[in-house]
Symmetry: C2
Subunit: 246 residues, 2 copies
DNA sequence: AAACATACTTAACATTTAATAGGAATGGTA
DNA sequence: TACCATTCCTATTAAATGTTAAGTATGTTT
């Protein structure tokens, strides 16, 4: 793992110069271990850090008054979350660890100061937000247009792509540490129906079921079934001058 | 209408100082009339402007290979869109006018330069993105958790809130210029089922149906049925020093 | 006025998904 | 080992939504 994973992450989006690297490395990263099931951010509470996920998975979710829960984002190693946490409290959303995790806590003011002074860092952060935005729109499309089977396959394809980008040499590339209940709350289905869908995917040889997760065994079949196109996860980095602002 | 609607918009999110106002007013706004049905941005084409909607409604959408269309955002007067258009082409999404419109075309480079020099403008733009982000997450929740009737009521409540914020003294506050087909593509339902839902809402006295749109007649009932909470549309503006980065 | 395209409405039927309930496996803990 | 809480699996029934098809309005163009 890089001495400063924030550097690794931001460089995916925008080339950074020596000064940027120095400034980022000067940020003290407060690394913490988080137990499975812990709430990193509570719905309704003020969020006073930016979180960078070093290992493990988390879910951003909201619980409605009738008790139903919707997971609105899945956060993987390398993901920056809480960039927008100031809003989370008003939105009553929370973030929960789905596995044991390592998380770097970053002081927002410190990062904000860097954004003021470095166009490169500002751009990298913007691109980071752009990918988040594109991903949530892809979820809208998935929920709105696809039925349970392709919807599930599409989600799995996205998660496969994202794990490969963030931890490319991991042996566990294709394991999704989500219970069927958590999948249900992500996909807008009931746990019972998720079970039916997973069984069908298993019969077709695309996944193998484990307690507490799913092992993907035929990625290209999943991508085809879910008509997945991951272009939105890999925005072409463009020079600062050409940047379409914001 | 303000001489510079961009100023009006950004000031909703963050107080701007005299210098900011001067700089923004110096931006040449290229105002154009757009006919109903026109594609402002084509999926697959490069987007080279930021668009500020002065009047009329537009939809951001994607057409899947099987022909189904999902509308991923509705854009109302005062909305800035295309801040992230560089990505639209890669995402194969387009933006289409749902009504006749007036749109201001802004050169991204010019706005980008202002962001470099003014923390206030940078913050205002960030808050603008935050509201967009919160809105798309609200759509995920709506699509994932609610059935057709409350889902429709929730969307109507959001749109009512947004129209009131953007054109508060309009007489047409409560008219939604969306055909039932467009509503279907927004809500992830079939046009036939949208018709059933609208008829039900009409029977309950919450809406009146018009050709080409829906008139909302009982907003509080719609909000209750859709369990709508619009806090995410009105983020509390905070001072720059306290800003949680982004 | 006639023709036309678009939007809306309605009905019958099919399919998907939800709801409910109960049981079986798994893993942790006293 | 016994207990307990999850998670997972399965079956049945019911509800929500999709599909197909056809007809009716409405506004526009000729």
């Amino acid at each position: 793992m890089n001495a400063n994973p924030l550097v690794t992450r931001l460089q995916q989006f925008c080339p950074l110069d020596a000064g940027d690297l120095q400034d980022l490395n000067a940020l003290s990263l407060d690394r913490r271990h988080i137990a499975h099931g812990t709430n990193i951010v509570h719905g309704g509470s003020a969020a006073n850090h930016i979180h960078l996920i070093l290992s493990g998975w988390a879910a951003r979710y909201k619980v409605l008054t009738d008790g139903t829960r919707q997971i609105t984002a899945l956060l993987l190693p390398g993901d920056l979350c809480g960039v927008r946490c100031a809003m989370l409290s008003q939105m009553d959303q929370g973030i929960m660890a789905l596995t044991p995790m390592h998380v770097a806590y970053i002081k927002p003011q410190a990062l904000y100061r860097l954004e003021s002074t470095s166009a490169g860092i500002r751009h990298a952060m913007n691109w980071c937000s752009l990918v988040e935005d594109a991903t949530s729109r892809a979820w809208i499309i998935n929920l709105g247009c696809r039925q349970a089977l392709p919807r599930t396959a599409n989600l799995f394809s996205e998660l496969s792509e994202r794990t490969m980008m963030s931890v490319p040499d991991s042996l566990a590339d294709s394991f999704l540490p989500l219970t069927q209940l958590e999948l249900a709350d992500t996909l807008g289905l009931t746990p019972v129906h998720v079970n039916r869908v997973l069984r069908e995917l298993q019969q077709r040889g695309m996944v193998a079921l484990r307690r507490g997760g799913v092992m993907m065994t035929d990625l290209s079949a999943l991508r085809q079934l879910g008509s997945f196109d991951g272009a939105y996860l890999r925005p072409k980095t463009i020079a600062i001058g050409e940047q379409t602002a914001a």
